[in-house]
């Protein structure tokens, strides 16, 4: 039971119908948490349907947030507070909860019909189902309607305020200031004054309910410490926001405009939406007719001298594959962002996975190597967008940036970086020479194998490029067998040369030699960080997956065993086996849900033969 009013960290889960405004409520709670100075991590978990049938378990939308003194690196294993808007939300969330968790349910939704839809034969509030939990059954539905009655709204309009009523309750529980949320509502609903005022009223009414409930001793306030974070200025940020800012920053560092070309797909679209709002940073967005047109327009933009960027999810990336090969052959820069989701095919569009690593590293016709990066956290998407662009321009190559899908909407506190901490991004100049323009366009730098970025409009440098094999020296079409071998070698050497510019791979923490090291990539950073810290295990997190950092092989050799947890069927394990001839222990999970810390702790202990 949460009787302790002082906790180091606490996991809160909000769950309801996909039309209940859960994601909005969660993201505003995260903003409030950020402003209160706590560390946090979030996991938005929502269905593929926009408005799934009301009251069903598959229509449940949830938002989980872990907050506290930090460092918080995951959205938490087991929630200690649940707000369930209906029986289905309770049904889906209950197995996840910490024993003794505080369960707040909306009484008004516990009708016989909704109980039946959720598969409850009897009322869980009364039949002992919640015996191990601390139940607060509140009439959220009609208390909210009462509160907003004065605005003369229809029942459905009034009902739409109930997420803010519940948020008001939460804000009371965590002793938060209502003003920033009020300000947000005022901005967001400025055009609809009645709804604006009603939502603000609901927020206050929920807050007042908390105080009243405290008097009756059913609710208590929870004090969460401020995080002991590095000094500096912080904001809350999602992966899509960080990546959008990173793309714009890359353009600024390179002194080029950015043309972002994409086609709507879950969960990649938030990046498109964010970038439309960053136009004044020299960013243009083009919504293409399909995935292929999106990557092709980005290639066209790069050919024209802007930084071409495209983004999608696995199925869309599959469609872009041929064009990515063209960018390799034509030696043009291009950034391709893949927000990975569950597959194959349409799979689990809204659920996260890391199963496109093979696709990124190996998934093209012919010998078509492309550098591959992966972001560990939402905030890190900023740095990785800059890094991807830097590689693309330096080596004149497409670059794939993998991001685990849920990071798109997952928020975390982010120490705001100063742009001048980043080196400007240089592009290769056209060499002065008497050679033909065709040769000059392919006069590659010996260290990076990158060619000059010659773009139409430059006087006196007219030349032709294309997807046909070209002569290594002259740049003209060549079907010469020996030349094709040389060009294939060149393309391989180009991508390998990316490693020459990387810092040595280091450990995140833990002993740098011994019986076991855990190797992760992407968003598994969070749970692996916690699990390795708890067990005193070395932790290596890879941000460069192709090529791998040059010292990785020798680093791994210092350990008896290498454990690779990942949200796929063992793809990084295969890659390490292939590239470094190590034999890792693969630990996989493909449920559409991130790893729990305890799952990893258990596995680490098992691999170690029971030693903690």
């Amino acid at each position: 039971m949460i009787k302790n009013k002082d906790v180091h960290s606490i996991v809160v889960r909000l769950a309801g119908d996909s039309g209940d405004g859960i994601q909005l409520m969660g993201s505003q709670f995260a903003v409030s948490t950020a402003l209160a100075g706590a560390d946090f991590a979030t996991f938005p978990d929502y269905p593929a349907e926009i408005r799934a049938p009301v009251g069903t378990t598959f229509g449940v939308s949830a938002y989980q947030i872990n907050l506290g003194g930090g460092p918080i690196t995951t959205a938490g294993d087991a929630p200690q507070v649940l707000v369930a808007f209906n029986p289905a939300a309770l049904k889906v969330s209950l197995p996840l909860l910490d024993r003794g968790a505080l369960v707040i349910v909306n009484n008004d939704a516990f009708t016989p019909r909704n109980l039946a839809k959720a598969g409850y034969e009897s009322d869980p509030r009364e039949d002992g189902t919640l015996g191990d939990y601390q139940l607060v059954a509140a009439d959220i539905g009609h208390l909210n309607l009462e509160a907003v009655k004065e605005f003369g709204l229809s029942k459905s309009e009034g009902g739409r305020c109930k997420n803010f009523y519940a948020l008001g309750m939460l804000l009371w529980m965590f002793d938060r200031d209502l003003a920033p949320i009020e300000a947000w509502i005022s901005r967001r609903l400025a055009a609809i004054p009645t709804m604006r005022d009603a939502n603000i009223k609901a927020l206050h009414a929920g807050h007042a309910f908390g105080e009243t409930a405290e008097l009756s001793a059913s609710l208590a306030q929870i004090a969460v410490p401020q995080a002991n974070m590095e000094a500096g200025e912080y904001r809350s940020i999602t992966g899509a926001e960080a990546l959008a800012l990173g793309v714009a920053a890359a353009g600024e560092l390179a002194g080029r405009a950015v043309l972002f070309c994409s086609y709507p797909i879950t969960p990649a679209s938030p990046l498109l939406h964010r970038l439309t709002q960053l136009a004044e940073l020299g960013v243009g967005t083009f919504q293409a007719e399909d995935e292929i047109a999106a990557v092709c327009a980005a290639i066209g933009a790069s050919y024209g001298g802007m930084i071409g960027v495209t983004s999608s999810s696995g199925p869309g990336i599959a469609l872009k594959t041929e064009a990515m090969g063209l960018a390799v052959s034509a030696e043009l820069p291009l950034v391709i962002v893949n927000w990975q989701r569950g597959g194959p095919s349409t799979g689990l569009p809204t659920k996260t996975e890391q199963s496109d690593l093979y696709q990124a590293v190996y998934g093209r016709n012919a010998d078509t190597p492309i550098p591959v990066l992966a972001a560990a956290t939402s905030g890190e998407c900023f740095q990785m967008a800059i890094e991807a662009t830097r590689i693309a321009l330096r080596h004149m190559t497409p670059v794939i940036l993998l991001v685990d899908g849920y990071l798109s909407n997952a928020a975390e506190p982010w120490k705001i970086p100063a742009l001048d901490e980043f080196e400007p991004i240089a592009s290769n100049p056209v060499p002065d020479s008497d050679a033909t323009p065709q040769r000059r366009a392919f006069a590659r730098d010996p260290a990076t194998h990158g060619r000059p970025w010659v773009t139409p409009g430059m006087p006196g440098l007219m030349h032709r490029i294309g997807g046909l094999e070209k002569d290594l020296e002259t740049g003209h079409i060549s079907y010469d067998p020996a030349n094709h071998q040389r060009m294939t070698n060149l393309r391989a050497a180009k991508v390998e040369s990316v490693a020459d510019f990387l810092d040595d791979q280091s450990l995140e923490h833990g002993p740098d030699s011994g019986d076991l090291v855990v190797v992760g990539w992407g968003s598994t950073y969070g749970p692996i960080y916690q699990a390795t810290q708890r067990t005193g295990t070395g932790f290596i997190h890879l941000r460069h997956l192709n090529p791998l950092p040059g010292n990785l092989a020798t680093l791994l050799q210092r350990f008896d065993k290498v454990l690779v947890p990942e949200m796929n069927n063992g793809q990084l394990a295969t890659l390490l086996r292939d590239k470094l001839a190590v034999e890792p222990v693969s630990f996989t999970k493909v449920t559409g849900q991130p790893f729990l810390i305890r799952e990893l702790v258990d596995k680490i202990e098992e691999v170690r033969g029971g030693r903690a």
Binding site: A34, L35, G37, W184, A227, M229, A231, E233, Y234, R235, S236, I237, L245, G251, E252, A257, L259, C261, L278, A279, E280, L281, G282, G284, F286, A288, E289, D290, I292, A293, C296, A297, I299, G300, A301, S302, Y303, G304, G305, G308, E322, A323, L326, A330, I416, P417, A418, L419, P456, G457, M458, L461, M462, H463, R464, I465, G466, G467, L468, I477
Partner: protein
């Protein structure tokens, strides 16, 4: 400024590798000449192509050139035009490249009115892959992939274009120097997507498929060369004309000497007339069939962009987001 360039200045050092007698040679010459005639700046001109015989075109034009992938040239050219709207961007495609695998991109380039000059080499056959029937092949076309004759209904490039919302559609015949010079110059001057269907003779796989109207001998009677604001006359001594038949809602050939008042006057801005002209088979309508200018996509794109694709703010100005806090 350099001395005026000639057609030869637009030829590259590369040996042209089409089959001897291919209609593409004539089109290449016509385009090189048109570039010289309109005073094109080679540095400011780019040819973008897909895949197919026609798509080798950029290798032979002394401008910027990008030979891309099958069907995708309009999409790549759209990105290029957005990146640098000052460029003259030409797209070279064929009936398979532009209307089969790349039909979607052609559709959207046309309806967006992207400032591209699109040359569609129509020979009603797949040449580079050795002679399979194409989306413009007539029903019954025998080919390696349709030995008993093709059964699918062909697409009409003109009807396709107008259906997509194209604002410029013209036609030319590969070997018709005067006609090609005219439509190329008109397309070049058009601010928006300009599609030219070029009847191109594939001498290896579909020889003389257009011979019924491309032959010089009977050109006067088989070709209708359109001019805006001029009566639609053709035939020996321009004795025949085109009238609109109200009974059948179609165009008919009449004796222009006998009934001069009934001869239609060409109006490029009339989409209904354009559709009827596209369907006319005896004679075949050539020249600018439809032209209805509107704001180009790139102009609209830049006009709607708050800072015209310039950087008017730094990332540093917005990176803090709606709210931030300081940890001491």
């Amino acid at each position: 400024m350099n001395a005026k360039l000639t057609a030869k200045d637009f030829a590259t050092s590369q040996e042209v590798r089409w089959c001897p007698g291919c209609g593409d040679y004539a089109i290449l010459k016509a385009v090189q000449k048109a570039l010289a005639d309109v005073g094109a700046d080679p540095a400011n001109t780019a040819f973008v192509s897909g895949i197919g015989c026609a798509s080798r075109f950029p290798y032979y034009v002394e401008t910027y050139g990008f030979h891309t992938i099958h069907g995708r040239a309009p999409a790549i050219a759209t990105g290029l035009k957005l990146a640098n709207p000052d460029l003259d961007v030409w797209v070279v495609t064929g009936d398979g490249d532009g209307l089969s695998i790349g039909g979607n991109h052609l559709m959207h380039a046309l309806r967006r009115n992207v400032g591209l000059k699109i040359l569609l080499f129509n020979n009603e056959i797949y040449g580079l892959t050795k002679g399979q029937y194409s989306p413009t092949s007539r029903i019954g076309t025998t080919s390696p992939s349709s030995p008993r004759g093709s059964v699918d209904n062909p697409v009409s490039p003109g009807q396709f274009a107008l259906g997509c919302g194209a604002r410029f559609f013209a036609r030319g015949i590969d070997t018709d120097k005067a006609g090609m010079a005219d439509v190329l110059q008109q397309a070049h001057a058009f601010h928006g997507a300009a599609l030219i269907e070029i009847f191109q003779n594939c001498i290896v796989y579909n020889e003389d498929v257009f011979a019924d109207f491309t032959g010089r001998k009977d050109a006067a009677n088989s070709q209708l060369h359109l001019e805006h604001g001029k009566p639609m006359l053709f035939g020996d001594d321009r004795g025949k004309g085109i009238r609109f038949d109200r009974e059948t809602w179609s165009l008919q050939v009449i004796d222009a000497i006998e009934s001069p008042d009934e001869v239609l006057v060409h109006d490029e801005g009339n989409a209904t007339l354009a559709r009827l002209l596209i369907e006319l088979h005896q004679p075949v309508a050539l020249g600018v069939i439809y032209r209805q200018p509107a704001q180009s996509f790139e102009d609209a794109f830049y006009a709607h962009h708050p800072s015209r694709m310039q950087r008017s703010k730094s990332v540093a100005d917005v990176i803090k987001g709606p709210s931030s806090w300081t940890v001491d």
